[in-house]
């Protein structure tokens, strides 16, 4: 009963935002320049803010008394439903920026469409997130262009990043049974309806960046069902450390 389509899609959106926000937070103290340090922390903060609203709402839908902290910190790895893309390690700066571009080029039109959701809370989260995603796209696009159309070394790294991460882009468009039910109920947009916008954003940025998309026959998937890559356990060990060590610690 608890895993209704509305609960599941809300949880997936929350997990995507939390895990990518956490990845960005790992750059704190390590970014290449001060401005970028602030930028990455800002982007991460937006995502964690979105995740908080979504977890709180998921807990209300579920009705079992789980709040945002319990959902964020006290689940097992196979209970996280984020896309595999967002848990991929930061790698070098090119990897971080290509990952951000793929995610935000998808989520910007997603939130724009979800702002018209029949679910008032999801619509409210999306109307705010759309504004934030707009500058996430802009920031990551500008960097991907600078790196791709930069030196021989930066071009090589940006192309390597794209080759490594592109197999994870397809999962964003995946529609399984609960997702289909949520689309039909008018809670979330059909990802297929966003494909043209996503493709156009990527094409414009990559052309400018002199980068090329690898040709793929299939894509990686499993995150939505809780089957993660080998990186997820390490990420959660760090993310959950405080709650596991000091259960119920609060700010």
């Amino acid at each position: 009963m608890s895993e209704t389509p509305l609960f599941l899609v809300t949880l997936r959106l929350a997990d995507d935002a939390l895990i990518l926000g956490h990845r960005l937070s790992e750059w704190c103290g390590h970014a290449p320049v001060l401005e970028e340090e602030l930028a990455l922390a800002n982007l991460g903060l937006d995502l964690i803010g979105q995740a908080r609203s979504l977890y709180t709402y998921a807990g209300e839908i579920e009705g079992r008394g789980r709040d945002e902290d319990r959902l964020a910190y006290l689940r097992r790895e196979n209970e996280y439903r984020n896309a595999l893309l967002v848990e991929q390690p930061n790698g070098d700066f090119a990897v971080t920026m290509v990952r951000q571009l793929i995610y935000s080029a998808f989520m910007h039109p997603f939130h724009r469409a979800m702002a018209a959701s029949k679910d008032a809370t999801l619509a409210g989260v999306a109307a705010k997130a759309e504004k934030e995603m707009a500058y996430h796209v802009r920031h990551s696009a500008e960097w991907v262009i600078r790196l791709g159309d930069g030196t021989e070394e930066s071009h090589r790294r940006a192309q390597d990043a794209l080759n490594a991460l592109w197999p994870y882009a397809g999962e964003l468009f995946e529609v399984d049974a609960p997702m289909r039910a949520a689309i039909e109920a008018g809670f979330v947009p059909d990802p297929e309806s966003l494909r043209a916008t996503f493709d156009a954003t990527l094409a414009e940025v990559l052309a400018e960046a002199t980068l090329t998309l690898p040709k793929l026959g299939s894509f990686q998937s499993g995150g939505r069902a809780g089957r993660h890559t080998e990186h997820m356990g390490f990420l959660l060990a760090q993310l959950q450390y405080m709650q596991r060590t000091y259960p119920n610690a609060a700010w």
Binding site: N42, L45, D46, G49, S53, G124, A127, E132, A134, A141
Partner: protein, 168 residues
């Protein structure tokens, strides 16, 4: 009798609004939450005062403190049954910032948001006047500044760095 009661309620509501509206943004202390458009509503029902606030950005870390400060301000104004509610919708926009708020920002050395919020995602540049010398010969250093709501700019005329309150 009925008229007197509703007038009394109206006066109480005005007092409660004034108390809540006086709370400052902890990150931009020259602006009140009313100047910012963060305070959306104050209502009184069955003796309980409810103040409704909305975050500027999803992850704005100042929201908890703002909510607490509103509660304290209302209690100091003599209201005992107080509640602060956070809403996300409609989404906050810099278009809600009062003219007075924009002037206070500029006087404080932060360039106020310029023009209307747009939906541009890719590329394009804004022209922002330096809050110190007024020159339009300025340059964006980074879209991300000391807080989520500000960008980092510099003026090429007076050579001073400055914050720009982003337009969203």
């Amino acid at each position: 009798m009925g008229v007197a009661v509703s007038l009394d309620l109206e006066r109480q509501r005005a007092e409660a609004w004034a108390a809540a509206a006086d709370v400052c943004d902890p990150e931009v202390p020259v602006l009140t939450i009313a100047d910012l458009g963060v305070l959306r509503d104050v209502r009184i029902e069955n003796g309980r005062v409810e103040a409704v606030i909305t975050p500027t950005y999803s992850g704005c870390p100042a929201m908890n403190l703002i909510a607490l400060n509103v509660e304290v301000a209302l209690e100091e104004a003599g209201f005992t049954d107080v509640k602060v509610t956070t809403v996300l919708s409609p989404a906050w926009t810099t278009d809600w910032m009062s003219e007075e708020g924009k002037q206070k920002l500029a006087a404080f050395g932060i360039a106020p948001p310029k023009g209307k919020a747009g939906r541009r995602a890719l590329f394009g540049e804004e022209v922002v006047a330096c809050p110190r010398c007024g020159s339009a010969d300025t340059q964006k250093v980074s879209e991300f500044g000391s807080t989520a709501c500000k960008a980092h700019w510099r003026c090429r005329a007076c050579a001073e760095p400055f914050d720009y309150f982003k337009c969203i």
